[in-house]
Amino acid sequence: MRIELEKRPDVSKLFGVVSPLLALVLTLIFGAIMFAMLGKDPVEALDAFFVEPLLEVWSLHELAIKAAPLILIAVGLAVCYRSNNWNIGAEGQFTIGAITGSYIPIVFYDWHSPLVLPLMLMTGALGGALFAAIPALLKAHFNTNEILTSLMLVYIAQLFLDWLIRGAWRDPKGFNFPVSRDFAPEAVLPAIWEESGRAHWAFIFAIVAAIGVWFMLRYTLKGFEVVVLGQSERAGRFAGFSSKKMIWFSFLFSGALAGLAGICEVSGSIGHLQPAISPGYGFSAIIVAFLGRLNPLGIIASGLVLALTYLGGEAAQLSIGVSDKVTRVFQGLLLFFVLSCDTLIYYKIRIIWSRVKGGAA
């Protein structure tokens, strides 16, 4: 048996829409098989994982809480990936954003002012952008591989947070636990609709960012520049676009969004700094970006889907007793199927059973 690809004369619009859905279905089928192998009833497990979290209002709020950082980060990454800049270190930019954003509420704990929150959000975004500036600088001026440098910086950021939280920023009244002091009320990101659940403003930021970037990519010159340079650096040069400037732009932009996501997570959901602030949002956002076809509106949808895998993982842990690692397996499977189904957009696939070339299919 052989598989042959035949290039389609033009990109299939139909499969552009169908392929992520197909990937989702395949993931569910494989998920069911996995649950069966773990000795769980697959229907019950999938129901606990993907359906039950959607049936209650409070848990929809939780969904928005988890989707917000994923969408924020993925929208920034989409700009990067579209322009052919491979920022893999969003997890680190998220962490640094959380740290720089927490500077005011931790160091100036006694300063009460309505300015605290906006300043936090700004310093968080700035911190993320500055941290992303390191791989950008190295790529633009030393031609260094940005995949590796941005990734190495993730480990450095996490160790830095660990040092900070066990040292200078440790809560003096925290019984020696490695946590910072709790943020004062004016440093906490408010809930959107307090009567029904915890979802906070980060979700609104995420939606605004997605729509804004969608508009930028579609209607502005900057967006055109991103797409042209991403498809062909040479063509971009002829059009007078600078790929160096694009490296800077895409990294600073995605770093700022990741940093904003970081401070929102700390201020809105956790309420203080601690050694582990992210269940891998920065890496899952890579899946979100691809599942959303690097399109900001698609990313809103895929961010909600990935958020559901986190939520479902937590729920399934309680109700059917599977480990939370299942979440990561689901996410990895999903990305795999997305990538393989995308082949259908550009190619027709023919399976040839006989060994004779061009034989009957």
């Binding site: 598989i3 042959e4 690809l5 290039k7 491979w86 893999i88 190295l138 030393f142 031609n143 260094t144 591989n145 995949i147 590796l148 440098t149 990734l151 190495m152 910086l153 480990y155 450095i156 160790l159 830095f160 660990d162 040092w163 066990r166 040292g167 890496f283 890579i286 899946i287 691809f290 480990s323 690692k325 299942v326 979440t327 990561r328 397996v329 689901f330 996410q331 990895g332 499977l333 990305l335 795999f336 990538l339 393989s340 995308d342 082949t343 190619y347 696939i349």
Partner: protein, 306 residues
């Protein structure tokens, strides 16, 4: 045993997995395929080796399990990128994410289970040489394999006919195809060799380096491996030298912590990662040499015309 010998021994233990995994990735990249999934394949090898050793009671069965797991896991990558021509960067990332998830799931029953340590093989006579003897000739099987791999890969790439073909594919898949060389088939084998090496490196982690199973125990070594290949400008002996350089940095960091230099341990732990960045800067700085050495069709998909 002197302190010097003890340090040398730990440097060797820390360097061996880096050298092995980097050699595998080097062969893969020489064939023109960029597989960023080393971290995922390595951790799959680590968990499979640990599980295999536990179930059979023999670390040697564990080693085989690690190699097979790495190779099979890399087959997923090969199918997606070579047969379905998916984006190599994204697929490699997917492989790492999936590997970290699956290994965590599979390794769940083995958390805090005491591991089985791979024993040393003493080579008679040679191991009696002072200093060098105990360091080089009283080692575990995986160390000897790593040395054999450096020699073997070097010979294969630059002295054998198949190696010549492999390099030709990496430099220009279209011309190689025109000459009648099986591009896709060779690349499949190269990717699987890379996977097998990553799996073996993982086995070293869970059977020699720290004989136990800890989630995410590869701790970024797979990524350092990728940097090593760039550092070595795609040459096996430089991979060997680079691997030992990185191993030394990792170990120095540990010893510095033990001596209590007054530098917080977190900053010392950053050293291997920071060193990777610095080395990448130095290597990539000279645009011309990197361009000459990089396999020309690295990361580019190949669809045969018909």
């Amino acid at each position: 045993m002197s302190i010097f010998e003890a340090i040398l021994l730990t440097v060797i233990t820390a360097s061996t997995p880096l050298v092995i995994a980097a050699l595998g990735e080097l062969v893969t990249e020489r064939s023109g395929v960029l597989n960023l999934g080393v971290e995922g394949m390595m951790i799959m090898g680590a968990v499979a080796a640990f599980a295999g050793a536990q179930m059979s009671g023999s670390p040697y069965v564990g080693i085989i399990c690690g190699i097979v797991a790495g190779a099979l896991f890399s087959l997923l990558f090969a199918f997606l990128t070579l047969t379905l021509v998916a984006n190599q960067v994204a697929t490699g990332l997917a492989l790492t994410l999936l590997g970290l998830g699956v290994s965590g799931q599979l390794g769940e029953p083995f958390v805090s289970v005491p591991g089985i340590r791979l024993g040393e093989i003493v080579i008679p006579v040679l191991s009696d040489i002072p200093v060098i003897g105990p360091v080089l000739f009283k080692q575990d099987l995986i160390f000897y394999l790593s040395i054999a791999l450096v020699v073997g890969v070097s010979w294969f790439l630059f002295r054998s006919r198949v190696g010549l073909k492999l390099r030709a594919i990496g430099d220009s898949h279209a011309s190689a195809h025109a000459l009648g060389i099986h591009v896709i088939r060779t690349r499949y084998l190269a990717v699987m060799f890379g996977g097998a090496c990553a799996g073996l490196a993982g086995a070293q982690l869970s059977l020699v380096y720290t004989p136990q199973w800890v989630e995410n125990m590869s701790a970024g070594r797979g990524w350092i491996t990728l940097a090593l290949v760039v550092f070595a400008s795609w040459r096996p002996w430089r991979v060997f030298a680079g691997g030992y350089l990185f191993g030394a940095v990792t170990i120095l960091q540990l010893h510095a912590q033990a001596f209590g230099l007054g530098i917080p341990s977190q900053f010392l732990s950053m050293l291997p990662y920071a060193a990777t960045i610095v080395v990448l800067i130095i290597i990539s700085h000279n645009r011309r040499t990197t361009l000459i050495n990089t396999p020309a069709s690295l990361g580019k998909a190949f669809v045969p015309e018909r």
